[in-house]
């Protein structure tokens, strides 16, 4: 789980280097952290024989993060809505919601085995650029 902190810091650094403000850096770091925790905890179920695979990329127009685990996979559409009154007092189940809220795009792809999340943050065009 210590590696999650390293992953979080690396995502924040990439966001800072892309010129995003502190709030956006923090949002990206948190989203990537949540995705990495999900991959280790729920995807790979703490199995040291399974690994997670990450890619970070600045395309110039977007920051793109992929986090893939080797778990059993899941259906993101089947997750309970954490904002529903009956779920508000649940002690868990907010990770994917936070990721979706903090990033501009989130895509899920089922691997065999595993799940790959792609998190995208759009970069604003540089000021003065036509």
């Amino acid at each position: 789980m210590e590696s999650v902190g390293v992953i979080e810091a690396a995502a924040e650094k990439l966001a800072a280097e892309a010129g995003l403000d502190e709030d956006q850096q923090s949002h990206i770091a948190m989203a990537v952290r949540e995705a990495a925790i999900n991959a280790v905890l729920h995807g790979n179920e703490y199995d040291p024989a399974r690994s997670i695979h990450l890619t970070f990329e600045n395309t110039g127009t977007d920051l793109i993060f992929t986090i893939a685990d080797q778990g059993r996979g899941f259906d993101p559409d089947s997750l309970p809505d954490p904002l529903a009154p009956e779920n508000l007092l649940r002690g868990a189940g907010r990770g994917i919601f936070l990721i979706r809220s903090l990033m501009d795009e989130v895509h899920f792809r089922q691997l065999h085995p595993g799940t790959e999340l792609t998190l995208v943050k759009h970069l604003a065009p540089a000021s003065g650029k036509t």
């Binding site: 789980m1 923090s26 948190m30 949540e34 925790i37 904002l83 508000l88 002690g91 189940g93």
Partner: protein
């Protein structure tokens, strides 16, 4: 930085001054143990001073909710004091702002237990 917890009593209310991060593996367990320990000892009035909590993740949010519900089920009350902007924004995003009693002023928070 992990979570540091200091406890003090003010007019029958136990104030836990929290400092650091409430995240999976870095603070959630300490917070759970502290709150459950107080409830186990019969303390009904618990105020979490969040003024120095600069980071919370989904696990930490879940721990706050668990503290709230555990207390409520035991006839106790867990309330929040002095949210930092990051924690405030996350509580709003997750609608947990509507669940907790939240105060900016400690004296007002203490008075609310009477």
């Amino acid at each position: 930085m992990a979570l540091a917890i200091a406890s003090r009593d003010v007019d029958g209310v136990t104030v836990l001054d929290l400092s650091g991060r409430i995240t999976l593996g870095e603070g959630s367990v300490q917070l759970r143990d502290a709150v459950r320990g107080l409830i186990g000892k019969g303390q009904k009035n618990i105020l979490l001073n969040m003024g120095e909590v600069n980071y919370i993740d989904s696990s930490g949010l879940g721990e706050l909710v668990s503290a709230y519900t555990t207390a409520k089920n035991q006839g106790a009350a867990v309330k929040l004091l002095k949210l930092t902007k990051k924690v405030h924004d996350l509580l709003q995003l997750t609608k947990l702002y509507t669940v907790f009693d939240i105060y900016d002023d400690e004296a007002a928070a203490i008075a609310s237990y009477r």
